[in-house]
């Protein structure tokens, strides 16, 4: 079992991926290296690969406890360190996607920035890709979605931890059972994150034209906990009962809790000052007969100076309840 190394800006070495000094440095050799990975192996990558075509991940799946990993490193003047700095896959307004998964499962991706695809920056193809984990990844400035299905299919049963999607159409266009934790999405012309049999935990969504958290079409519970939504078309949208919003902040323009006319929403311990608190939904915000919703005051704000930002302060201040 061998790990491989890649450096998109290296100009010397054997280009065989055996070490940082001989790291894969061209798009073609990187593809060769990825094609050879098997369960339990890792691609270590640093700096920027400028792509002309998507990287296809369609050969091997990882396994339970033995995922195939892609990990980004800080170049650190030639001695790469894993400190959370992104390695970059740049589609450069030319490649349709940065990476495309051909229905392989159980890959784990850490510290990678995807950008500038003409379609979705990250996409599945053929059939759903399951049990993927993205940790500390960023996807932005796509002609399509941050994570999507423009190549033919999408991700399912997957986990997104501390990932950011911005300046795309949809942030995340995924299949069912995907969970975002500590994720952030903003400046999207479509929707944010689909929640079907899922829950968003401590996520932030703002300036999204469509629905930030879309729970339509699911069965079983879906909801948000500890999230912040500000200036979205709707922060929470659901069409099936039950869905829930707990301990979250829904503020700014747009609708806080939106349904299709028949939706039932459990609305507990939220702070809601969105322009339209709820629309098209029957909302229950009581526990033992007591209203749990807060609509005034400065509840929940975090201010290092010990004060509060007040209700009329800036949009940036309204989003500080969750610090990512």
């Amino acid at each position: 079992m061998a790990d491989i190394y890649a450096d998109g800006e290296l100009t010397t070495g054997a280009d065989d991926g055996t070490s940082w000094a001989d790291a894969y440095r061209t798009e073609a050799s990187l593809q060769t290296g990825i094609d050879g990975l098997v369960a339990g192996e890792t691609l270590h990558t640093t700096r920027t690969f400028t792509l002309t075509a998507p990287i296809d991940i369609d050969q091997a799946s990882g396994g339970i406890g033995t995922p195939i990993r892609v990990t980004g490193y800080n170049y650190n003047s030639g001695t790469p360190v894993n400190d959370g700095t992104y390695a970059v896959f740049d589609a450069n307004s030319a490649a349709a996607s940065c990476i495309v998964s051909g229905s392989v499962d159980s890959w784990t991706v850490h510290n990678i920035e995807f950008k500038n695809a003409t379609g979705d920056n990250v996409s599945g193809k053929t059939s759903t890709s399951n049990y993927w984990v993205f940790v500390n990844c960023s996807s932005h400035d796509a002609g399509g979605d941050g994570w999507g299905n423009s190549a033919g299919s999408n991700f399912r049963y997957s986990l997104f931890v501390h990932c950011h999607a911005y300046s795309c159409v949809n942030g995340f266009d995924l299949s069912t059972d995907c969970v975002p934790v500590l994720c952030k999405m903003y400046d999207l012309t479509g929707d944010g994150f689909p929640l079907v049999r899922s829950c968003a935990i401590f996520c932030e969504a703002h300036d999204i034209t469509g629905d930030a958290f879309d729970m339509s079409g699911g069965t079983g519970a879906a909801g948000i906990v500890g999230c912040v939504g500000d200036n979205n078309g709707a922060t929470v949208y659901g069409t099936t009962a039950p869905y829930f919003a707990v301990a979250s902040r829904l503020t700014g323009t747009g609708i806080g809790l939106k349904g299709d006319g028949s939706t039932m929403i459990l609305d507990l311990y939220n702070y809601i000052t969105a322009a339209t608190v709820s629309s098209g939904a029957t909302v229950d915000q009581q526990v033992r007969g007591q209203d749990t919703r807060v609509t005034t005051g400065d509840e929940g704000y975090i201010d290092a100076a010990g004060g509060n930002y007040g209700l009329t302060n800036s949009a940036a201040a309204r989003r500080t309840a969750v610090v990512l």
Binding site: S61, T118, S127, S167, G210
Partner: protein, 145 residues
């Protein structure tokens, strides 16, 4: 002024003479859309400028400048001229598409036709049984210019 973010898509962005743009979404619906026609001096290092037409005098060092002819079948809500059913974005033949479970349920709830959907129970690599829905249909694809 420095612009690091903001959702300014499908409208005239509020950029002024001498501004520096490092990020944000300024994408437009139709390829070749001119933005900020009166602004001569901009420095752009990043951001989503899909379908934007830059002024020759701008200093462009980054960003996504792809020109994408979008299909109204894929993007019904961004003000595109409505495509015909058999528009040029449509695939020549029908292809088998995996249909997301959420989509199946949405269509059922909306009373839409689901008769073309085939559902089968399959076992994945970890032994978990899942339902896979597929449908044969034409695909509509945005075209990169």
């Amino acid at each position: 002024m420095l612009h690091g973010r903001g959702n300014h898509s499908f409208k005239e962005p509020p950029l002024k003479e001498g501004d520096v743009i490092t990020g944000g979404s300024y994408s437009q619906a139709v390829p070749g859309t001119e933005i900020c026609a009166g602004v001569k001096t901009l420095t752009i290092t990043g951001g989503n400028f899909v379908n934007c037409k830059p002024q020759p005098s701008w200093d462009i060092r980054g960003g996504n400048w792809a020109q994408i002819e979008r299909c109204s079948h894929n993007h019904p809500n961004i003000g595109l001229k409505k495509c015909r059913v058999d528009c040029r974005h449509r695939s020549r033949v029908k292809v088998v598409r995996e249909v997301d479970e959420a989509e199946v349920r949405r269509r059922r709830r909306a009373g839409l036709d689901v008769s073309g959907i085939t559902s089968s129970r399959i076992q994945d690599r970890d032994g978990v049984f899942v339902i896979r829905h597929t449908e044969e249909e034409y695909q509509y694809t945005d075209k990169v210019q």
